[in-house]
Amino acid sequence: MLKRILKDRLALSCGLIFLIVAVLSLSAPLVAQYVAHTGPNDEHITATIGSGVHRRYVVSLVGVPIGPTWGPRFFLGADSNGRDILVRLLYGGRASLAVGFIAAAITLTLATILGVAAGFYRGWLDAVIVRILDLMWAYPVILLAIAIGTVLAVSGITIGPITIRAGSLLLPAIIIGIVHIPYVAKPVRGQVLVIRKREFIDATRVLGMSPRRIMIREVVPNVATSLAVFAPLMVANSILLEAGLSFLGVGVLPPNPSWGNMIGQGISLISVAPTGVLAPGLMLVAAVIGVNGFGEGVRRALDPHGRIRPR
């Protein structure tokens, strides 16, 4: 499988694109400390840069931020709060990627549990899970996410012993992770139904294995291929949904940056400060191309006939 991917030039170049975005994002603290000398949320609204005739306000008196200086400070310009766009872009990448990966992990885990349980036990459990999945499937996803986001922005949430503060990255990750569940759980369930009928499960049953062991030992490994195909897709979709929610102001909450909320904040200034939208927009697209392209390589390697398809 690895060999196939290594031969797939499109997949490899996409993987490389993603790697570059990820490394840049991970290097955010270094850039902040050693290059730009400012943090992602540090504001320099009334500051000036340069000296003598080149002295300029970071944000003009009527609120127009400085454009790219292509120098260490404000390399890509400032936003309307006088924050360094490059620094925010890189920190925003950490947030966007973190949310993307955590959300995808949540989706895959819960979807596998639900899909396998439903497909394996059938009966009333299956009926209940399928109805829940139908409900989540029919519920307008963005509305659900905005609704939960708006609610939790006020209070945060306490689930058992765990308390997640409002403004934590985990919140959008959990919301996104949950709303994506049916996209994976439904095909997984379908696959389990097929696997269940195959003889080897009967054989293991005869050998006296407990249902739970059968599921973990025999069924899950068999759906692993599908999960590997879904994983990159879910990461890409989660990054996109996070950006959309943050664009609307309910994902990653300000002042913390994410690509989506940078686009949302920059959009009204697009005609005078286009980098505020273009930079996070391009990073977002690059990251998603990277994940999607690599994911397609994985799919071509694992599933050359395109049988596995999320709903």
Binding site: A138, P140, A147, V285
Partner: protein, 316 residues
């Protein structure tokens, strides 16, 4: 078929009922989202708030409130808390906009996907195909609101060749209707069609190897001719569900971001306003409406699927 309809109607009703309960619950637990306090305004006195609570029945049990709300939903008499306007008539007003948006976007999507998908399949493995693969990968990875924002900036603000947003009724001025919707259509159609063109390409290439195609080829028909004449029909089957569900999403108010960017007063923008205003009656109705669109169109897609592909059996 009849039993399919009966079973599907029943399960859809269950899903919609669950959607309504879930929505109601989510917004009941909002801390200090008390609609009475909101309605009373900034200078409210405790007496005013108490009076509003009584008039609107906020002091009754949550189930009581839910049932009376659902009664209002069924009689089409839901009044919004924030502006005291009939919610159902608001959605009816947004519907022509959203319908125009969704229809145009889906027509463009089908056209683009057919062109790109077939071109990709015909040139499979060649340079054109490779470029196409990369372009469509870029397209499907770009959110529609980013395309919309950039297009708005370039074409509406800079070049001023297209209007910067808003909606004109088809009946008022068909040309203006078209120019106002062109950018939103494109913004929506590009990501969706890039995705479905790749599915179509793969599906076409899969089916090329089927027996009936080999036969046709053996008869001396050209590759592209075979692709279009014989393979396309079969290959379109998986796309029916993709397009159908995308259409359902758009129709159900899923184009929230695009409707916001382009200031289209459709169902999506109304949904966004309702959620931002935490206005329970309108959120409930919008959500039900969106869920209804999805449920209905999924059923339609399943029927179409069965009609197109004899191997598929209708399953409630």
């Amino acid at each position: 078929m009849l039993s399919f309809i009966v079973r599907r109607t029943f399960s859809s009703a269950v899903v919609l009922a669950a959607v309504s309960v879930l929505t109601f619950m989510i917004f009941e637990v909002i801390p200090s989202g008390d609609p009475a306090i909101r309605m009373a305004g900034q200078n409210a006195t405790p007496e005013t708030i108490a009076a509003i609570r009584r008039t609107w029945g906020f002091n009754r049990s949550i189930w009581h409130q839910y049932i009376s709300m659902m009664q209002k939903v069924f009689t089409g008499n839901v009044i919004s808390y924030t502006d005291q306007v009939n919610v159902v008539s608001q959605i009816e007003r947004g519907l022509p906009v959203t319908l125009s948006l969704a229809l145009g976007a889906i027509v463009l999507t089908i056209a683009f996907s057919l062109c790109l998908g077939m071109l990709g399949a015909v040139t499979s493995g060649r340079v054109t195909d490779r470029i196409l693969m990369f372009l469509t990968l870029t397209g499907l990875s770009t959110p529609s609101y980013v395309i919309g924002a950039i297009a708005l900036y370039l074409l509406a603000y800079r070049a001023q060749v297209l209007p910067s947003g808003g909606y004109v009724h088809f009946g008022t001025d068909p040309a203006a209707w078209f120019t106002h919707l062109l950018l939103p259509w494109l913004s929506l159609a590009i990501p969706i069609s890039c995705l479905s063109s790749r599915v179509l390409r793969a599906s076409l290439l899969d089916n090329v190897n089927e027996d009936f195609v080999r036969t046709a080829r053996a008869k001396g028909l050209s590759r592209s001719r075979v692709l279009v004449r014989h393979v396309l029909r079969t290959s379109l089957i998986p796309l029916v569900s993709i397009w159908g569900l995308d259409f359902a999403g758009l129709l159900g108010g899923g184009a929230i971001l695009i409707e916001t960017v382009f200031n289209l007063h459709g169902v999506g923008q109304y949904a966004a306003e309702s959620v931002a205003g935490l206005d329970v009656p309108s959120i409930l109705v919008v959500t039900l409406y969106g869920a209804f669109a999805v449920v209905l169109l999924s059923a339609v897609v399943d029927v179409l699927y069965a009609a197109l592909d004899p191997r598929v059996r209708l399953d409630g």
